[in-house]
């Protein structure tokens, strides 16, 4: 008998997806041009994420438990369904590669300067692949521990920064550059659009009322937490200085002191954060690999799973420095995000038409 996930599990998975991906760089993207107003763009981006979540939920409901791409094949012309599926898959794959590349870059530049990047990303991907291979039920079990780490770390960051927080440093909230604000909003929307994974998760969740509310509350809470922490960073470091930081939360972690005995605890922070990265990446790998298996209409074999992991590892290593990562991120924001949105809207349109046709 197939094991189904509960609403708690759904909450955990969505919360981790929202945090695991861009957590380290999102505040820097949001505030670089906009200062404290960047927080508003973060909240607006989360709003866009919420719309995508609702869209994915409705689409998944219409699919009624069958694999989403199989459903698209039934309601859309075959070539169009394939293109839509590929657009969604490429979004997921590039998102995954970017997440892994960001984390590897951070580990490499901050903690393990002399260790080869291929080793850092290799061991990381091997274990993530191992977890993803166990299936969504086991990923969710792992995610429970990651969620505990996440809550602990957030609390640690907030409590550690609060004594140094001065609201005056985070003010004023002025919109100086409208274009930059819109640009940031889209960037943040792109990050939160990963809730699209709901398309692949929902068929494994018990069909209950309020599934959407649980998923949405996970997204909203994540956005609020992230905004609070970014605002905290503004108040601690000041708007001007914060805008020069790339790993803003890392700097926030650096100033935490655990009594007179342990200082520079950012290493512990990053290390504990790994559980969150692990959970989020394994959910992403699960969705990416299973979606590809749906596209080629074959079961996801172990061999295929590991071949894809190897491919992601190669891509992650190819992005050997921050310059290349940012370049890919640019393409991602300008092309793949829109392709995915277009595909999703098209699928929704056909699903609606299909419903109307069946009503007639």
């Amino acid at each position: 008998m197939e094991q189904k996930l509960s609403q708690n599990d759904l909450f955990t998975l969505i919360a981790l997806l929202c945090h695991g991906g861009y957590f380290w760089v999102l505040p820097s993207f949001a505030t670089k041009e906009n200062g404290s107003m960047g927080i508003l763009s973060m909240l607006l981006g989360a709003g866009t994420g919420l719309l995508i979540l609702i869209l994915a939920y409705r689409l998944s409901q219409k699919a009624n438990g069958q694999p989403i791409f199989q459903y698209l094949g039934q309601i859309m012309p075959k070539p169009l369904a394939q293109v839509t599926a590929l657009a969604i898959w490429s979004y997921l794959a590039i998102f995954l590669i970017l997440c892994l590349a960001f984390f590897t870059e951070m580990m490499s530049s901050r903690l393990l300067v002399d260790t080869p990047r291929w080793l850092i990303s290799g061991v990381l991907l091997f274990l993530i692949g191992r977890l993803a291979a166990l299936g969504l039920v086991d990923i969710t079990r792992f995610s429970f521990f990651a969620l505990i780490s996440l809550l602990f770390l957030m609390l640690m960051l907030i409590l550690g920064n609060l004594p140094l927080f001065e609201i005056i440093q985070a003010l004023p909230l002025v919109l100086e550059n409208g274009a930059a604000f819109v640009d940031t909003w889209l960037q943040v929307s792109n990050a939160y659009a990963i809730v699209l994974c709901l398309l692949f998760i929902l068929p494994r969740v018990k069909q209950e009322k309020k599934n959407l509310s649980w998923a949405a509350s996970a997204l909203v809470l994540s956005a609020v937490f992230l905004s609070v922490m970014t605002f905290l960073a503004m108040g601690v470091f000041g708007q001007d200085f914060s805008q020069t930081m790339f790993w803003m939360h890392l700097e926030q972690a650096k100033i935490i002191q655990l009594g007179p005995y342990l200082e520079r605890v950012e290493a512990i922070y990053v290390i504990l954060w790994m559980t969150v990265i692990f959970a989020a990446s394994s959910i992403l790998i699960y969705c990416t690999n299973h979606s590809l298996a749906q596209i080629i209409q074959r079961p996801l074999t172990v061999k295929m799973h590991w071949l894809l992991i190897f491919f992601f590892w190669l891509c992650c290593n190819y992005l050997g420095n921050m310059e290349k990562i940012i370049l890919l991120l640019g393409y991602f924001n300008q092309i793949f995000f829109w392709l995915m949105i277009g595909g999703l809207l098209l699928a929704f349109f056909f699903a609606q038409r299909d419903r109307k046709a069946s009503n007639l």
Partner: protein
């Protein structure tokens, strides 16, 4: 008397299995003597009952001599002399013997050699009569056995002290003594072609999940072709879900109170003849980390001890690797004074922290192994003297820093807080790969190691139940008793394992290994 059931006899060789007793005494004696030729402990005693010839068979040392002499031979030879001649006529002899002559408590008639031999092997006496195609199985068990003793490996400060021993019936009695209910079922199986080991599956019918009982029976029955089963550990390794894992998926206990408590929680006990360790299935990680003492003491004290134990496990598993990682890769995390003190102490030590830690951890494991193998009187001395002398000498010779002695000692003490030996092995074993990872990748490596262990634990199941339950998957009611020792009322009423177990699947129809959804 324990019935010699046909189902228990599958392990007897096929030639004997269906062969029936001929009823011609000389032939039957010859058959048995051929089977047991060169068996010096096999006894065959022929005698006369009235006009009929008879013989008894048994293994010397397996039977109670008094029973054989007084209740079997004396009865058969003397009592039948006083009987009327028509009572000892061949056609009425068997009934007469059963009703009037034999004074042993339990008698059974069998008609195949397989049943007869199975009885002989467990210490019963076999009576054959000329002209009778049935054999009497007379209960005369009297093999040597240890008396009920104190538990040696699972000591508690309060609570009962008696422990199981090697005799199956003593062990079942110790359980029956505590669980006075007709719901306590004890199903018997015979395993091992050569050893014919009796195994009893004990459970509370009203609490145990029938699917676990069925699965346990299925797994045990699959062992019937095994040549020999000497001890419960042999069974344990053959029926657990993942025998390659370092984590035990079956709990064992030598304490009847612990086994009975487990049964009231819906778990199943497997008792093996010849083993003082009773297996308990399913076993979750949290259960392996709990001690009966937690419940015999007051709730607050139990909670405190539990926390101390969890800290002990964390220290035993992680302390050396964290020391290696922080001193080698992240010294900036330490306060300046501590850092300077470590640096000063390590001055002159020719090895990196990793080699130091590895040497000391290995030395400690050597001492532990040596003290186990030595006679108990000097084993402790070896441990203490070895630790003191080697530690002191290693520091004096500048082979290791004094801090490393502290780290290794704390690690050792931490590993001793584990309530069961089987739970301490994974901690001892996994410490080494974690140290290697710490030496290669610092804290990142340690965390990778911890995550790898976590992934393995998440995958692990014990008879279809997630090993990390009730934490993952989270069950709030189940997890209540995990960290904080609940009141007796709450704890005693908890019944786990009511959900259906989930067994691993992972192959498509054509047999290809697939990733589960």
């Amino acid at each position: 008397m324990q019935k010699v059931r046909k189902a228990d006899l599958k392990a007897v060789t096929s030639s004997e299995k269906n062969a029936e007793i001929s009823g011609v005494l000389t032939q039957d004696i010859a058959h048995l003597q051929k089977l047991f030729e060169r068996c010096s402990d096999f006894v065959c005693r022929e005698f006369q009952i009235g006009s009929s010839k008879a013989a008894i068979f048994y293994f010397d040392g397996m039977v109670k001599t008094e029973t054989v002499n007084d209740e079997i031979l004396r009865s058969l030879i003397l009592e039948t002399r006083m009987a009327k001649s028509e009572q000892t006529e061949k056609n009425r002899l068997t009934d007469f013997l059963e009703q009037h002559a034999l004074t042993v408590g339990e008698i059974e008639r069998v008609d195949t050699w397989a049943e007869a031999l199975a009885a002989l092997y467990v210490g019963d006496t076999l009576l054959l009569l000329d002209g009778c195609e049935e054999a009497f199985v007379l209960n005369s068990k009297g093999f040597p056995q240890r008396s009920v003793d104190k538990a040696g490996n699972e000591k508690v400060l309060r609570g009962p002290e008696e422990a199981f021993n090697e005799t199956l019936r003593v062990n079942t009695a110790l359980i029956r003594k505590r669980v006075k209910s007709y719901n306590l079922k004890m199903e018997s199986l015979t395993l091992g072609v050569n050893t014919q080991t009796k195994v009893v599956l004990a459970y509370l019918e009203d609490v145990a999940n029938p699917s676990i009982v069925a699965e346990a029976k299925k797994r045990l029955e699959s062992l019937q072709g095994v040549k020999g089963i000497m001890e419960s550990s042999g069974i344990e390794q053959m029926i657990e879900d993942n025998p390659q894992s370092v984590f035990p998926q079956i709990q064992y206990s030598e304490r009847p109170d612990r086994v009975c408590q487990a049964m009231t929680e819906g778990r199943i006990a497997i008792l093996v003849d010849g083993s003082p360790n009773v297996l308990i299935i399913p076993a979750l990680l949290v259960q392996l980390l709990q001690s009966p003492d937690d419940y015999y003491n007051r709730a607050k004290a139990g909670t405190f001890m539990r926390f101390i134990r969890y800290i002990g496990i964390a220290v035993a598993l992680l302390f050396p690797s964290l020391y290696v990682a922080i001193t080698s890769y992240h010294p900036e995390m330490l306060p300046l004074n501590l850092l300077l003190s470590i640096a000063a102490a390590r001055e002159g030590v020719p090895f990196p922290a990793f080699v130091e830690a590895l040497l000391m951890a290995l030395a400690f494991e050597l001492l532990r192994e040596a003290s186990l193998r030595m006679p108990s009187a000097i084993g402790n001395t070896i441990g203490i003297v070895g630790a003191l002398v080697i530690g002191e000498a290693a520091v004096s010779a500048n082979l290791v820093a004094p801090q490393m002695i502290v780290v290794v000692s704390l690690t050792a003490i931490g590993s001793f807080t584990l309530p069961s030996i089987e739970a301490s092995y994974p901690v001892r074993l996994l410490r080494f790969p974690l140290m290697i990872l710490a030496a290669i990748l610092g804290l990142y490596g340690v965390m990778l190691g911890v995550i790898a262990i976590l992934i393995h634990l998440i995958k692990l199941k014990s008879f279809g139940y997630p090993y990390l339950a009730p934490l993952a998957p989270l069950s709030v009611s189940g997890a209540k008793d995990m960290f904080i020792r609940r009141s007796r009322k709450d704890v005693r009423q908890k019944v786990l394992f009511q959900q259906s177990p989930q067994y691993s699947v992972g192959r498509s129809l054509d047999g290809t290994k697939i990733i589960p959804e």
